[in-house]
Amino acid sequence: MTIQPLLKMGWLKHFSFIYLSIRLSFNFAHCLPWRPDLEQIIVNGLYMGAQYALIALGLTLIFSLMNVLNFAHGQLYVIGGFMTYTVSVKLGMPYIVALISAGVSLAIIGAILEKFLFRPVIKKSVREESTMLLAAGVAFFLDSAILLLFGEKQRGIPKIVDGVFNWDFIIIMPYDRILIGCLAVLIVILFIAYMQYSKAGRAMRALAQDKVAAQLMGVNIDRYSMIGFALAAMLAGVVGGLLVSITGVNLGMGGPTSIKAFMMVMIGGAGVIPGAIAGGFILGMMESVGLTVLSDFGDITYLVIFASLMVFLALRPQGLMGKPWG
């Protein structure tokens, strides 16, 4: 594979896949008899991809640390959206305060979930799949808690910035989407830097690599599992807070969001951080291309995405960058 040396180049590997996904969608679109608005598709794809990458990052972090498939991830995202809505609209605080409070409260929720639910069950159960039942139970619980606390209505917050960026009618993008997209990219970069250079980040990467060895080196598993879970929940909450300003948020979004996150993690490889980023951008790009190119054939974008995912996984079961067998 010619791409392999490229991957080794540290930082670049995170972004080479973004480039690759853009390139592929370009090539794909060029094969068509008509010429869709490529630039627009790519900008939309990048914008969606940045959001998706953030969701997938959290899911993959939890998986790599604890081998738990967090069914409740989409619900955490929905709670983040509702928290942002409540703080910014109901309490009239500025948007950035609302976003931070959503992140903080979700981090607390994540830490509680890990400490009181996942940790004891992991220690007691014979087969580690048992945590999936727990995760599903937590997903149901959070769904009902959202219903009781925030109601079933679709909620949104007023636009943060007005105006539309218009580059000669080639790329048309509202300013708030650009802002949110950039914020998402910034958070992804911050997260990578945290995992790369901080003490906690190093400990978590060590745990993901080899639990026993990390423990022998004096890494406190309980402590860093909790930090990891809290961090993942925080990421989900922040994405919810970002997207509530554009698409709004409602109760039913939790499940489908989890499914999308699973797909991204599968594309990139479970438990690998650059893989989650790549998966997020690739799915965002595929969705953006599919919604434009396949719109004449009805609502089959996800059908096509899934079919290609199956073929891809048949050839490469561990995803782009995953360890074999997760």
């Binding site: 498939l69 727990l134 149901f140 797909m263 899934f306 997760g326």
Partner: protein
């Protein structure tokens, strides 16, 4: 030998209880709605038994809803468009699912752990999208007003009467579902205690090791997955017969997750786990209906509590007592 006989008697007693005592109790108490509930439990536990079998080979299957949907559509299309008898469509629906399982299973059964779980989960969602997109499934409108099953006669002797002439259709379906459930679990018990069952267990523990001593793991995985899908398909087909309609949203992701939860609830190490799990799950949910808006809250709290106290399933109480 003695033990075998007691087991046989226990099974026979259980069958008699379901076929005669339960209907009698329902007649006396007049709670006719219980027929429908128990029929659903029986059918859901057939599908869950399939999921349990994939657990038995060490795969987490969250795609049974897709196969129930495929089976349901296969039966509905055969009955409505081609005029095939409903009873014939049940095995045909199962076989159709086996075909799908072989095609899909060949690539995806190479996946393990969460990868397999995630692929099957996505598959459930895709089955719904396929049903929405294909012309033969009639899109979001689905297929409705499917006729009730007709009669079966062998050499002029009517074995099963025409369901549209039945006084109590619910009782008819109850018998069908219970008989099928008993057959399914008898078959499962036999399978698990056979040579193939032991080989399946070796897959659950270590595939490489099993393969190294000459077990054909690829075939075995496909066989287990096909049986699982077959069970999902026939359960879906009978559900369609009962509700006389099917829509793309008939078996959503929630159902797939429920099939998996049933297995967990009962216990992954026990053949009859899915049966108990389905019963508890379904009735638990129904009983909590009176809690109104707090239904899901209480249900999920109980689920979490159960996980904290009995992470290895309800049936693990008995094995604990033995120890």
């Amino acid at each position: 030998m003695m033990q075998l006989r007691t087991k046989f008697f226990a099974a026979a007693a259980f069958a008699l209880f379901l076929l005669f005592v339960v209907p009698m109790v329902i007649e006396i108490s007049g709670r006719w709605d219980f027929y429908y509930t128990l029929t659903s439990v029986a059918l859901l536990s057939i599908a869950s038994a399939g999921v349990w079998l994939t657990f038995y080979i060490g795969r987490i299957n969250i795609g049974q809803g897709a196969f129930a949907l495929f089976g349901g559509y296969a039966s509905a299309i055969l009955v409505v468009k081609y005029g095939v008898s409903f009873w014939v469509t049940i095995p045909l629906a199962g076989l159709f699912c086996v075909l799908v399982a072989l095609v899909i299973g060949f690539p995806i059964l190479r996946l393990r752990g969460v990868y397999f779980a995630m692929v099957t989960l996505v598959m459930t969602e895709v089955a719904r999208l396929t049903a929405l997109a294909l012309p033969i499934t009639n899109g979001a409108k689905g297929i409705s007003s499917i006729p009730l099953p007709g009669s079966i006669s062998l050499f002029g002797v009517i074995l099963v009467p025409d369901f549209s002439t039945l006084e109590n259709v619910k009782l008819g379906f109850y018998y069908v579902a219970v008989v099928l459930m008993l057959l399914t679990f008898a078959g499962m018990y036999r399978l698990v205690n056979s040579r193939v069952g032991h080989l399946c267990r070796s897959l659950q523990q270590n595939e490489e090791l099993a393969s190294s001593i000459g077990v054909n793991i690829a075939n075995l995985r496909l066989i287990a997955f096909s049986i699982s899908s077959f069970l999902g398909g026939i359960a879906g087909a009978i559900f369609v017969g009962i509700s006389q309609s099917i829509y793309p949203a008939s078996f959503p992701v929630k159902d797939s997750v429920d099939f998996m939860l049933n297995c967990f609830l009962g216990g992954l190490g026990y053949v009859f786990g899915p049966m108990l799990g389905t019963l508890v799950n379904y009735f638990g949910w129904d009983l909590l209906f009176s809690a109104g808006e707090y239904q899901l809250l209480i249900y999920s709290t109980l689920l979490i509590g159960l996980m904290l106290t009995l992470p290895n399933g309800l049936l693990s109480i008995f094995s604990k007592a033995k120890n």
